[in-house]
């Protein structure tokens, strides 16, 4: 009966309705031939469309990596831009298979909202940006300031906590879209713009005169940003999780998109396992054994993706910092493939 009504509805709205079998996300994805990935509506460095609608960014590359792992083709991915409000519903309702939308991992989201965070692909923290002309050097001098921020984010709550904890007054002006926040800040509606520091670096590019603004040193929160999947599909959870780990491990083992073919001949057992020369790790998660090879070949390891999208040589110019590997002074750490 359910199917009949669904079909009838499907016939009504041929364009819009896509029915997918209920089996498991992996089968669904294979059947429809692409990964549907939820991304932000435009955050340079993380997920941003150019004038032609081509998406680039750290989160976008992660989606491509998942597509490469599943299909061996990084282009078998489609992007759904989502607002902060829509993102979790879209994931839960099956509209997207995977959410890579600079989303902060919190306990409430992980437990109450029916989501699973697969890991962290960017360690971030919330910061403040102000005009240089204000002469402010510390966030503790911001008493009485007007603060522009996004609604529906952890940022909004953190800033309230921070000002309250430090017994400071503030006025919050909270917009639905990141672009509007930047515009209002640029127009002078607010003294302070607050969001994740990576976001500050990205949005700063949209200001009229980026050089007239300065990011304050304080980091007022932990913002581990990571990809998210639906609760209750362990196989898909594993695939997405290990896609991330494979990218980090590849960097640690020195496997890059350039040398990955030579590395296949490497004698290092870790590399051999990673690239599917030894063991059946890929098959165990329902993929082919060269899944990680495909990721690295087509998308690159974590370091490459970082440098390409947000690293010091990009307009964002973010140093690795916390996001360096654990053995290079950061905390990026992935369990071994074995």
């Amino acid at each position: 009966m359910k199917k009949i009504v669904a079909l009838a509805l499907g016939a009504l709205m041929t364009a819009g309705v896509a029915t997918a079998a209920n089996a498991g996300t992996l089968e669904d994805v294979k059947k429809k031939g692409h990964v549907q990935c939820g991304v932000s509506q435009g955050l340079p460095g993380f997920s941003n469309p150019d004038d032609k609608g081509n998406w680039t960014g750290l989160d976008v590359d992660f989606c491509r990596a998942v597509a490469a792992a599943v299909f061996g083709d990084p282009n078998k991915v489609k992007f759904t831009p989502l607002s902060a409000k829509e993102r979790f519903t879209a994931l839960r309702s099956g509209e997207v298979d995977l959410l890579a939308r600079n989303t902060t991992w919190t306990m409430q989201r992980d437990t109450e909202l029916g989501l699973n965070f697969v890991g962290v692909n960017y360690y971030d923290g919330q910061g403040f940006m102000v005009r240089k002309s204000l002469g402010v050097t510390s966030a503790l001098q911001l008493n009485g300031a007007a603060v522009c921020t996004n609604t529906g984010t952890t940022t909004e709550l953190n800033v309230a906590d921070y000002f309250r904890a430090n017994k400071m007054q503030y006025e919050v002006v909270a917009f639905e879209k990141a672009d509007e926040v930047v515009k209002a800040y640029d127009e002078g509606r607010c003294d302070v713009y607050t969001t994740d520091r990576s976001g500050l670096a990205a949005q700063r590019l949209k200001l009229k005169n980026p050089d007239e603004h300065v990011v304050l040193p304080e980091i007022i929160s932990k913002e581990p940003l990571g990809p998210v999947v639906r609760h209750g599909d362990d196989q898909w959870f594993d695939i997405v999780k290990w896609t991330l780990f494979a990218m980090i491990n590849a960097e640690e083992l020195g496997v890059t998109s350039q040398n990955v073919d030579e590395m296949k001949k490497s004698t290092n057992p870790s590399i051999r396992r990673l690239l599917g020369v030894e063991g059946k790790f890929g098959e165990n998660i329902g993929l082919t054994n060269d899944w990680a090879y495909n990721i690295i070949k087509h998308v690159g390891n974590y370091g490459e993706v970082y440098e390409r999208n947000v690293g010091p040589k990009t307009p964002l110019g973010l140093a690795r910092g916390l996001n360096a590997l654990w053995n290079k002074g950061g905390i990026m750490y992935a369990p071994p493939i074995r």
């Binding site: 009485g144 006025e171 917009f175 002078g188």
Partner: protein
Amino acid sequence: MSTTTLRMQETSAEHAARTRRFWLVMALGALSFLLFFLAASSFYYKSPTGMFADLAGWLAAIGAALVNFQGGFLVWLGRLVTAVVNIAPMFSLIFFIGMGYRLWRWVQEEHPRPASANPLFDRHFRGIFSELVVFTALAAFIWWIVGNTVDNLHRLGKPPGFDFLGATAGFGINQVLFLEYAETSSYGKAILVGLINTIVLSLAGIVLATVLGFIIGIMRLSSNWVIARIAEAYVEFFRNVPLLLQIFIWYNAVLKPLPGPRQSLVVADAVFINNRGVYSPKPIFTDAWWIVVAAFVIGIVASWFIARWAHRRQMQTGQPFPVLRTALLLIFGLPLLAYGLVSLFAGPPVSFDYPELRGFNYQGGMRIIPEFIAMLMALSIYTAAFIAEIVRAGIQAVPHGQTEAALALGLTRGQKMRLVVVPQALRVIIPPLTSQYLNLTKNSSLAVAIAYPDLVAVGGIVLNQSGRELEIIALWMLIYLSLSLATSAFMNWYNAKMKLVER
């Protein structure tokens, strides 16, 4: 009894037809009930007996929700709504019973038709039949939607309920009126703040739009060609550009030319205007203030009595009395007098808290945020264009003979408008005017686009933070719907009162 006599005359053919009809109806009824039952048990209960087993549970839940008054009004209301919503699919069952009753009545009734007539050509039967079809389909659809929703929410581990309204909000709101709100307040309180902001914005918009709309409407009827064309251009332009765009335009126009707080425009050393808003002194009332308020009330009451007396005297003697001037004098003069006396004897009953630049912004005083100004301008200018058209139509609807008669009686232009034209025009104007007010109130929800913290914007924040889509959207709709229905009810009452009583 006529029925018995009629029945006595029934021929056997008629009897057969009646029997056929009876069984046809019964079969149809049974079929649609079966479909209905199937829909309910497969979409919602997932078991054939669940529907009956749950009824008692629902009634108990509503009773419990009614009695259990805890956690603030909104939470209580939320619980009640949850309980009622839970039973919503059951409403369709009640309808169904009603339908069955009508069918039964139809079978029992006498029908002055040829006995051999096919029941399919009976108007009543067909009516009941089509209602059954529509109703069965709709009920199945509702069961399906509600069933899906409940399924989905349970799958996501979020059984619907309004208890979350009691949780701590944790975010700030930049315009809080009449209430005490802090980050530690509850979600429910935050939504109340939003509701008040919506109401304040709507009321201000309604006043401004009415004034502007009447001015433009009268300008359109001006005998002065230039003025009429200006009014026409105004109406055509503002009606044909989306309100959302106008909001953006005004927000931009309000923010852009204004200086930062440190270079504020200053009016009379007390009012400061900058891109953070308009700051003005805030009156602080002492205990003696009530005397001034009392004087004001006395002024109003006295004016009302004087107006009544003047009216009666004019009816009897024809002597006019300058009511308006007297009333103005009383309403404003008395409080002023009281104010003067109180200041003389007890010191000024009101002092002012002046805003001053502290740190980044002005602190203290009263403040109107730029988002409010932009919303107010956009809403009232947009709605005024529609009101102007209504006013024009209303005035034009007054027959020319009325104005000629008024002039023939020797009324002045002002008297003619006030006593003859406006009262008659109002009768035409009020109903569409009310619906414009309603539109304005609903349109104020666009505030979410420029971060004015109205009901939708604050609700949106709560929605985001708590992940409760269903509940927040239900709350929005419930509130707007009750505002609308209340206004409609008022309008109906007013229309009935103002209706032209004809011979």
